[in-house]
Symmetry: C2
Subunit: 446 residues, 2 copies
Amino acid sequence: MSASLQINARWIITVDANDRVLHHHAMIILDDKIIDILPQDEALKYDAAEVITLDDHALAPGFINAHTHAAMSLLKGLADDLALDEWLSEHIWPAESALVDQNFVRAGSELAIAEMIKGGTTCFNDMYFFIDETASAASRAGIRVNIGIPIIDFPTRWAKDLDEYISKGLLVKDQFRHDALVNFSFSPHAPYTVSDESFQRIQPLMNELGLSMHIHAHETASEVTDSFEVYGKSPLNRLNDLTLLGPNLMMVHMTALNGEDIQLLAKNAVHVIHCPESNLKLASGFCPVSDLLDAGINVALGTDGSASNNDIDMLGEMRSAALLAKGVSGKADCLSAHEALRMATINGAKALGLSEAIGSLEIGKQADLFAINLNCIETQPIYDVISSLVYSANRSQISDVWVDGKRLMHDHVLTTIDELSVLERTKQWHQKIAPFHHFVSKNGVK
Amino acid sequence: MSASLQINARWIITVDANDRVLHHHAMIILDDKIIDILPQDEALKYDAAEVITLDDHALAPGFINAHTHAAMSLLKGLADDLALDEWLSEHIWPAESALVDQNFVRAGSELAIAEMIKGGTTCFNDMYFFIDETASAASRAGIRVNIGIPIIDFPTRWAKDLDEYISKGLLVKDQFRHDALVNFSFSPHAPYTVSDESFQRIQPLMNELGLSMHIHAHETASEVTDSFEVYGKSPLNRLNDLTLLGPNLMMVHMTALNGEDIQLLAKNAVHVIHCPESNLKLASGFCPVSDLLDAGINVALGTDGSASNNDIDMLGEMRSAALLAKGVSGKADCLSAHEALRMATINGAKALGLSEAIGSLEIGKQADLFAINLNCIETQPIYDVISSLVYSANRSQISDVWVDGKRLMHDHVLTTIDELSVLERTKQWHQKIAPFHHFVSKNGVK
């Protein structure tokens, strides 16, 4: 039987419903899809155009970064160790309002996409402006993306008012209608920057176009307090009253939640996107992941943007999620490595409505995966390969990445992005952005 | 003027009292010491036997891992995601009592030392058994070590009683008296496993031999509660009543502390060794790092052993420390990247009583340092090189490591350890240890 590609691997981490790990198996790919996974000695019946043998490697489903702002990679490390207000109002926003345009978003998206592919991410859920540039960059690089159509109640360089946010967003969506890698959601920034009227404009469009919604919410306790002052209710209850809660809603951060909130989320099958490193770095509060999982809520994982992380490394984010959930819940058996891996893969696919196509390595799914070399000092010995992946490995061990069966990284070398050019452009942007960096150390030394 | 080595680097991160970062400077090394740090164009007056130019790199003081159990690297990933009691009593202790001997400690220490050098660690503070093997392995590899002479009130394969723990420990100390890289402390395991009588035997020896003490304490709230039941006071107050508090005491973990405890620690200049990832993984509680720093206490950083982490990666540990302190304190400006770097370097040196010799890159100090390549997608752009190091870099970017001016890693290749042999021996040990691994996933699939 014919096939495009056969990959023989020491381990195949399927992330299927039974969490199966297969040893010495072969994955058979035809064009963009996985058509078989079977013991290597039974794979002779396939006559694959290419056979790759990875005896030291595990194959795993590509990571799905369920919340990021790719273009902000140009701002990574611009302003650290600052209180949230100062961080936003004195550093990030001034830099953004002065600099963010088509070119910024193109360069930042390319930098982020290069970093993501190198780190095994094969799909990302983005929220930013100039979405045509991010969509184009993803399409050129061959990475899968869910683009958020931004909605915010004030003008930016991207759009002047709600009408323009919507029309420009839908225009871009239309431009990419034939590109299978590029999907779209509506992305209202947050309940505190988007009015009820704006939500009410978006809602019928969501239904009509079959689009989901991707929104920051309950990021901090003060966001909830403020909402009570302005609206007399929490952001979550506001969205509920607007009849926006449902399985097509992805709520990001969600640190400040009470028991009733959690019941409401569970009842409505809302997806929660957990960004542990960003929540820590900005001291936003702790997402009660253990309680959310106990309530049966689908929790996916995101890195947030590089300005508040400062990387877009899903391998590290899984580790942070697993460790933090144990610390916060006080239960060392909370959020196992296996569950963290599900959050970074299949749960992200569910949140995006793509779990029939991606998020696990199973026959019939798209061939979105990475290979990681575990035969090194840092990850040996191996008792449970998923534990080694989550708790001991680092992303530099990821050697190869495929999306839709296309090899985007070949033995650590990107095939669709010229890394040196990206580095060069990044340094040019550094020159323009650096004036917005005003670092003073603890000891007063600049 | 003659010199052994001149290293020209893009950045030199000194971690001196003023946190200075020097650009395009040269470090001049003669034998084991740093004899000058000056602008590259002024370095012509030195005639170094070797000149290395690292235009994409930062030099930084080697990390000091202030608490680990090196040999436990063979157990990394043996038992994860379990409650502390089950983890210890059903997995770690049975494996240890069946397997830990000279050969285990030799193999485990070599694996750990290889991992540490590759990750930029140049000194580690160890606590385990068969300390002659760990000391020998460190000496052969050329890494600096502070060996804990173990004290525990029950017999192990290493020693049968207090007399033997002390005599065997001091014998090893004597064997290494001419080895400048190998230092010693007393390491009573913890207040709950060491009696007042045993502490009273050690104390005069500490004074007589000028040795410090390295002990686990206040790891969990229940340890403190239990101590009240047995002794009528907290472990800290017990050690205080035994007149053991002072600048030669390193207390590890310290999650369960009240305001009075913190005052007592500060008054006595006790060093706290913070192990954030281990505390998270075992759900031990949160060390109040922000309060400790505010009280002027010296806080150093350790990884703990690989069985509870599961790596011995100080770069990652700095990041976890900085992020976690913000989350726990609710202050995003708490524990900056700069402070985290101090905890991983000079603060560790202070804890070990070695701050005159190591912990920063300054003229007159030992040449213990690493070089890290920051010219890559993951760490560009760079606004503050210390932020990039702590929040964005990963250890695979570390290319070269020196201890006492000797190059232990040369462009990613270890010079004193045969990595392939270590990997081979590790896999042999895996065969013996694997029967102690009883993993059952959330879904019941083995």
